[in-house]
Amino acid sequence: MELRFDSVTKKYGKKLALDGFTLTLNEGVYALLGPNGAGKTTLMNCITDRIRPTSGAVFWNGEDTRKMGARFRAKLGYLPQSFGLYPSFTAKQMMEYFSKLKNVRNAAEETTRLLELVNLTEDANCKVGGFSGGMLRRLGIAIALLGAPEVLILDEPTAGLDPKERIRFCNLINEISENRIVIFATHIVSDVEAIAKEAVLLRGGKIILSGDLQTLINSVYEKVWLSDQPNSDEALQNDFRISNINKTENGVSLRIVSDGKPFDNAVRTTPSLDDVYLYYFAETAEEENERTD
């Protein structure tokens, strides 16, 4: 089981949404981490063949997925960032409809099993039009899982879910991650920690770092500092990437991500994935100005 991206590039006019994206994925859960406009959704659209790359290709077990067409789509499960369903259909009808679209043989059993998995059994006969955002997303997950897809693509899957549902969803992804490749895009670092085996950090359509979570954390080893300061004024926040501010009796305790020692009293601390995100994606005011210029 191998999903390979070979120099996938996508241009929208002069803007490069994906820039020579090259990566090989095997069985497991992969997180795509990056700020808005990093190219996560474009990459997912390239995998699902919803958009055609300007150059490069995606290969499934060595075969071009565009040439595979329906054969590759048969292996896909996809939950887009935003989607709708037929409001007059019940959850059960919706599952049955997608069972036909996905050639699911034991549609009735699969529908029952998946609706139970996403905790929608009681609402199976309710019309989708009356569903809350969270319920709709759970139904979307059930639809994505129909037909036991080997590649599961989830774009911001936990957006709109309440904390309880998010935890439930993360556990669900862990349960179903065996024998398939799961790729999910997110902004939420804690979701990555809970689910992913590896993460890919994207910025400007390029991979800036990829690997297992420990590798990512190690990349900012010795770059995370704790420092007590009398206050945390705006100038301080503009000059440093501050991942946390705790009030203390004498002022504030700052958690700073920085290549060098930010203050004399700063001491190194163990980095977390949040620090990784901050290190690679948060810009100091100075960097932002440089980039704008």
Partner: protein
């Protein structure tokens, strides 16, 4: 595949109680047809029928004599009426006498326009060389043929029911989910087009049948065995078929063009992705040339989609070959549109 077609049929006809809308539309259409399908002439159809009944009961060799006598009688009465008016104005007769005379002329005066129509037809058809034709009842058939024009109800139905077939996917946001499934492109599109065509053909047949049924209820079908040339003088180059056969042929053409319309709507839906835009585009493409027929060359009007949809393709074309070419042309266009649609998937 059949499962997908069934699902699409369900969405087109049954989902959101659309069947109720169809029944209501069908009811309105039938009611409208019942009250508007009439002999649209400038005289009383009842008097016209009276003459027809008299002529039917009169042996053929005596019909000419009867018509001549009636013509003279009416002319005399009209002449007498003119004289009476003149006498009244010259104070030769009193007002009461004038009123009494005028009342006696009323019946003849009332009958004259209908008789003139009978006379015109008698003279016209008497000149025709051959066969025994029942000329006099053709007003009824004219009422039906006149009614079988562009069916705005059906057009509205097509736009309301077929447009959401594809646009519904885009408007509710389900398209991203569907398009990545195994059958979500080629097979689903095929199923949608098949369902749209099937629904359109069924409804088109239903509406045409309703017109015929209402005609039958109002006028009866006794004269449908007559050659079509008896009621459509422009069709002398047309093969000798009966009115009934002509109506069936016309219905088949209408259904074919409705199928063509359904395919055009499907293609426009996929291209434009918006129900409102598609409805406007279809209305513009089909109705504008039809409504602006005076601005376009006649031959375009005669072979246009509007002519096909209105069922006037045959009657307008005069030349059978032109009508057949128009049908073949539109069917080729339909297949090509279907192919383009298929390729877009």
């Amino acid at each position: 595949m059949s499962g997908l077609i069934k699902s699409e049929m369900y969405k087109l006809l049954l989902d959101r109680k659309k069947w109720l809308l169809i029944i209501i539309a069908f009811g309105i259409k039938c009611t409208f047809a019942f009250f508007t399908m009439r002999i649209n002439v400038g005289f009383s159809a009842g008097i016209y029928r009276e003459y027809i009944n008299i002529l039917s009961e009169t042996p053929e060799e005596n019909r000419g004599e009867y018509i001549e006598k009636e013509k003279c009688r009416l002319e005399e009465i009209i002449s007498a009426k003119a004289q009476t008016e003149s006498d009244y104005h010259n104070d030769i007769i009193s007002l009461d006498e004038f009123k009494a005379y005028m009342n006696s002329y009323y019946d003849a005066e009332h009958k004259q326009p209908a008789f003139e129509a009978i006379l015109e037809k008698y003279q016209r058809y008497s000149e025709l060389p051959d066969e025994e034709r029942i000329y006099y009842y053709d007003l009824d058939i004219q009422a039906l043929l006149g009614y079988l024009g562009f069916d705005y109800f059906l057009f509205l139905f097509a736009v309301i029911f077929i447009v959401p077939c594809f646009c519904g996917e885009y408007s509710c946001g389900i398209h991203p989910l569907i398009s990545v499934t195994e059958n979500g492109r080629g097979k689903l599109y095929f199923a949608k087009i098949t369902a749209a065509i099937f629904v359109m053909a069924i409804i088109s047949l239903m509406f045409c049948t309703a017109d015929f049924a209402i005609y039958g209820i109002k006028f009866g079908f006794e004269n449908c065995g007559m050659p079509i040339q008896t009621v459509r003088r422009t069709l002398f180059n047309f093969p000798a078929i009966s009115i009934a056969q002509y109506l069936v042929l016309n219905t088949v053409i209408k259904v074919l063009f409705d199928v063509c319309l359904a395919t055009v709507i499907c293609l426009m839906s996929v291209l434009l992705k918006s129900a409102i835009l598609t409805a406007f585009a279809v209305a513009a493409a089909v109705l504008m040339p039809w409504l602006m027929n005076s601005l376009l060359p006649q031959w375009i009007n005669r072979i246009s989609v509007g002519a096909g949809l209105s069922g006037t393709l045959l009657t307008c074309s005069e030349n059978v070959l032109l009508a057949v070419l128009s049908i073949v042309f539109h069917m080729i266009i339909t297949v090509m549109l279907g192919y383009i649609l298929w390729c877009r998937t």
